[in-house]
Amino acid sequence: MKLYLNGKPAEVEVRLDTLGPKDSIRTDAATHVGRRDDFNPMRETRFQDVRIYRRALAADEVARLPFEDLAAEIVARQPDPRKWTTDAKFVAADRFYLGEKDAETISLASAVAAHDTAFEALTRDGPASLIAIEKTTPAYSDILKRGDYYARLERVEPGVPRFLSNWPAGAPRNRRGLAEWLLSAEQPLMARVSVNRIWQEVFGRGLVESAGDLGVMGDRPSHPELLDWLAVEFRESGWDVKKFYRLLVTSATYRQSASATAAQLAKDPGNKLLGRGPRYRMDGEMLRDSALAAAGLLVEKIGGPSVKPYQPPGIWEEVAMPESNTKTYVPDKGEGLYRRSVYTFWKRASPPASLETFDATSREVVCTRRARTNTPLQAFVTMNDPQWVEAARKLGERALQAGGRMEQRLEFLARATLARPLTPREGAALVKSAEAFRTKYAADPAAAAALLAVGESKPDPALAPAEVAQWTLVASQFLNLDEFLTK
């Protein structure tokens, strides 16, 4: 047996061959290409054209293989056109007419290559996506009596809740009109909801805590006048989001210390009255990005297809159908491991496990306010997930590369993760555990080597493995501090 790929002999590695000279490979079982076992990623490959011949092919036949030419095959089988079957005659005539005579087909066919090139350019940075365009006929819906789709009542057109404000005069009844309505000065909700969401992101809770419901079922705003002032400010700035973030993060309210006295905590445990600065555990994506940034691993490239960072094997397989195209998780190599979390591939039936542990949602239903739980599973992620172990290792290397004595290295780590110097008491506590790590890894080179092997990036060969192991642990301590995990 010989294998050809795109008309050229393919390299073959024979894994198993027990076929004797008189045996046959004839069998009733189907032949699967790329399916040695169920976990083989080649299973997911799709083949455009596979042909199997019972005879050895001549060299020119092999060269012609990539170019499908049915007419040539018909001629090869039977040179005399008078002896062709009806089907063969049809195929030959069809190819001849469409390929040589029909002007429209010829011109369309000649345009294919240009379109392919254009499509490739468009999709180079990611798969093409569906977009919405307006229908030419007006959209409508029928009111169904008790939900029965056979019992249609009144026909209704697109509209808005009348108690808010009217549809803008002269605006079309489509998305364009809706956009105009949303941005009109008479309609207060768009601005209020938007500023409340941004406030929630910056301060950890909205001025209206039920950020997804500013109606009568929702919470009352804690500072109604402030909410309205911010809404008007945002609208009058021309909906300038960046400017609005700047307004919030440069405000005196935001720049307050997060420290709280017992009296403050007793009176206002949730900081509803904004008597102190915001303080809350960051979302999983922010945490991962912060750790990668501190380690110097973060790849800040913008855009492109989703990436697959580290994930233990088996998580997708446990829930997927055997025929699913996202059955087997194969982590990326190289920069795909270190991109910002916003680029992480999302399988809704099984979201990225380490982010889900930090309350990332499956993205199946809308989420306006993410939960913020505190579980031991989260400590396992930040201590043991290879992503975090590797980040600690590279951060530890940075501390070593920065040079100096132990105290200076600790200061380096403090600035890289906490953006402040250490207090003497903190320094003393860290020195104590750093000494313990030093003793351990100086005496156990095998353990140091094993720890350095976590993650795809290579350790700095200029550094002593025992020291890198020691400082991996110290760096991991910084990445696990409440202050690092908390905004």
Binding site: A258, P269, T373, L377, F380, M383, N384, S433, F437
Partner: protein, 519 residues
Amino acid sequence: MTPNDNPFARDHDLCSDHCGEHPTVWDLPHVPLGLKREWLRLETRRQFLGKGVQALGWAGLATLLGRNGVAQAAESAMATRPALVPNFAPKAKRAIYLFMAGSPSQFETWDYKPMLYDMVDKDLPESVRGGQVLTGMTASQARFPIAPSIYKFAQHGKAGHWVSELFPHTAKVVDELCILKSLHTEAINHEPAILQITTGNMFPGRPSLGSWLSYGLGAINEELPTFVVMTSKMPHRTNVQALSNRLWSSGFLSPEHAAVALRAGSDPVLHLNNPKGIDGDVRRAMISGVNDLNRQLFERVGDPEINARIHQYEMAFRMQTSVPELTDFSNEPASTWDLYGPKAKEPGTYAYNCLMARRLAERGVRFTQIFLRSWDQHSNLPKNIRLMAEESDQPTYALLTDLKRRGLLDDTLVIWGGEFGRTCYSQGTLTAENYGRDHHPRCFSMWMAGGGIKPGTTFGETDDFSYNIVKDPVHIRDLHATILHLFGLDHNRLSVKFGGLDSRLTGVLPAQVIDAILA
């Protein structure tokens, strides 16, 4: 009933935790004074439910803080958070749900239909089908030939239940079971059906049964999850249905109530194990250093969340010991392996998961759900259902027997079943040895045992074709109401504000506890 009668009512909106301040209508105009007083009463109660404190999953952190004597004045409100109490005396403390995904046929399992042998290959009478809309998989069949079970039935136990020869082991404990033959659902395809039976609603985004139990009752053992899910290796792979986290998600409840998926093998909880090169002593020194700094931070900043973080890490360290102890089967006596069979030694098999379920039950895990897929036998049913039965019969029997001999069955509810039933007519060609069965939502069989269920009983009846229910129909919401009842919860009162409703597991349509099957 008004929401204010509801001791479990808490306010939520989408995917929020229940940590922060709650709305007040006190300053709203046009609200009757009586209603405002009700609000005030609720507000007071809510203050005990932990204002401004994040939920600690897996565990009542409050208890931990109290136990370890490190509760600070600032977090006393959280420490006094009362345990949630049932509405009435519970019969079940925990449950193990053996979920047969893909839906086993009732004809080869629990619903014996001898009349069908007189009608082999005859057409299903139109009067029985009653104009029902079929799935696209059989709607175009020219005829609907009746296919009786190829497997024989015999009577077993004191009650004389008819059990298929596919379940020789379960037949030995049939006197423990209550067999329900009249379950029904609206869903005719897997995804909506499996969502409906796991979350009470065909649409995704609702809390699952286990999440409701976690929310309503909390943890028994703080060092283990309240709700555990395990998926099982399949003995064959034909028509395998997808599972997804939405089947065990917490929906609009706080994520702490979602199931923890226990994985087969050496890392049963994700990233539980230290990386190679870090041993227990190093980990201890690392956490001690971290918590030393966290304590200093608490002194400066005063945020009670920092204390929660300290205990999060201490609990993680303890779990690194307690979870391996859970998954280490080496101290199981020889009788365990006789009972569950040799496959129980292979991580991830159904037998292994059943044994794990017993160990979880012993350690106080509230709700364990084991998924076994590949029961969806549209074709080659005789061969494939036998494979599935052989995989699951002995471990199921072993689990019931093991729970019983350890005195756990009395307060452990065991549930067995799929998401819908199957048709009495063959999908595809009927031959003497082979046939298939399409989906059938109008009736299906399940069984329950232990945990306050009346043993050795059956409930509900279907017609001669097991096509329609003729007596005591049980909707999925009735099943859910009954399960909650066994845990001491009133399904009408276990609710959460979501989407403008007091949302419940059993939804808005009336649901009934099946009193007849309660012990």
